[in-house]
Symmetry: C2
Subunit: 342 residues, 2 copies
Amino acid sequence: MLKNDLLIRALKGEVVSRPPVWIMRQAGRYLPEFMKLKNKYDFFTRCQTPELATKITLLPINQIGPDAAILFSDILVVLQAMNLKVEMKDGIGPWIPNPIKNKKDIKNIIIPNIKEKLGYVLEAIKMTQNELNQSIPLIGFAGSPWTLLCYAVQGQGSKTFDKAKALCFEQPEIAHQLLQKITDTTILYLKEKVTSGVNAIQLFDSWGGLLSPSDYDTFSWFYLQQIINEIKKISPTIVFAKGCWFALNKMSKSGVSALGIDWTCSAQNSRYLSGGNITLQGNFDPSRLLSPIPEIKKQVTQMINEFGKDKYIVNLGHGILPNIPVSHVQAFIDSVKQYQSK
Amino acid sequence: MLKNDLLIRALKGEVVSRPPVWIMRQAGRYLPEFMKLKNKYDFFTRCQTPELATKITLLPINQIGPDAAILFSDILVVLQAMNLKVEMKDGIGPWIPNPIKNKKDIKNIIIPNIKEKLGYVLEAIKMTQNELNQSIPLIGFAGSPWTLLCYAVQGQGSKTFDKAKALCFEQPEIAHQLLQKITDTTILYLKEKVTSGVNAIQLFDSWGGLLSPSDYDTFSWFYLQQIINEIKKISPTIVFAKGCWFALNKMSKSGVSALGIDWTCSAQNSRYLSGGNITLQGNFDPSRLLSPIPEIKKQVTQMINEFGKDKYIVNLGHGILPNIPVSHVQAFIDSVKQYQSK
């Protein structure tokens, strides 16, 4: 029914004329129209007002024309719904005034009624789908339990998330209780998102790469796999675990439709590590969009040649940076659309 | 002549009874004696006063007993010597008031007379060697040209070093001029360090892992290889490039004696990626030293079993964190000393 179903076909591994393209954080600060709304409404007002979330989701669709929309929201709305106060501070980013430290803190964390606590997301999905009118697919997303624990315990962004890791290594039973509660909530949340109409799900494990392979299994993958087991039955699912090249092989066997790849993993290494048969998504270095436009075009073509046009979704290797000129983003998208396989 | 030459023998690939052990940042903030000196003297006073640098270098040798000393200093003294003002701000870290932005800024960067500008480092080496009295080897170090460029351009620490990458991608010719000047200076600096008496050299490429494999070749490895070509002739050399698992194979063929490994690379992957024949150093997750002592002992033994006792130097996968109890560090060191191969 979708007019442009390239993303869905790539997720199924079908042969396509060119790979689909979308951009992580495509409705982001590099867009002047986004900045106007950012200056007018605070972060969580934008997330919690379906009309605003819809409007923001559609900005890049109208302006730069990717092959998929991704609902404007934030991974941290899940923690808010679980009874943890989360603020967004200018110049700092996410800010949790009372981060989780002990057993008592865990007791206050609830598994919420999704429709009650996150109904605004479900409403935004319906509103966005109505606007998109089957033109392109809409992606919904959630953070991995490990990545949400990082914020819930650290209380803010961090280079090392040392406090979060300290909780895991000093009081593992508390960490596991929290991870399981987040997992259970995320499964309920994503099921509702699919019911509300998203066409695909992406799971973000932004901080998985801070863990050793064996700690990754214990504190991240064990919970991601639970989510995948439930969601793969109802929706195509993409896992993007930044820095987790070491886990690509295991992930490729988990039942997901595609794996996101960061830019430190070459196309050749990505295909090798993921077993060669699963759809991959990535992995242009976001900073490389600062290169002159002819260089961007050259590198995008080379990237598609290296990954291959099939079983491949063009994207960045992480979210787009605020300082990228819109014309460079446009060149990135257009290079994919103009791609001619050799 | 060294009473304990385990490190040197491991760097040569010789068979040893147990692997040597030292810790990156072993003279660091986790040591109460270090904190006393930190509160009394500012950062660069500690670096630039040979008596203080010597005293700090020896603190962990006397207290926890590793198999090698590493001279207390900082990678940024090289930038200072090159005519760039570098400060150390409490709560912020390195601070460059006038970061490099353009061609004119590059012109002000000099290749210094090492004895004149960094004589205090050379004096500290002689003083430390006098105190060590051939008990254990002394390691000298330098940052990679790319990692120094990161600070020189960004002006401070960063998660993404986006300004540094922007310079490389927008004005590559300026980046390459700066990288070459840093390379030339580093070669002169390390030659003088070896002449002054260090027993081994470690090169830190702390931010190499922010680059894609092809940009890593262009902006980091091209310059590291120049340094290695000169220094391998006069000293055993270790390269530690954090996050650069993708470059281990190339590095293993560069003429270095050993490669440092971060904790995201399992022993098996490390041996595979580095070709199986070069000495490896690493890779305990620094946060894992927060685990209870019995768990640390178990994991250290397992790590040595996995890497193998030969062609192996026990270390962390990055610098030690300030919040690690000294007793846990002691347990780490002792576990290695008590290691019995199966």
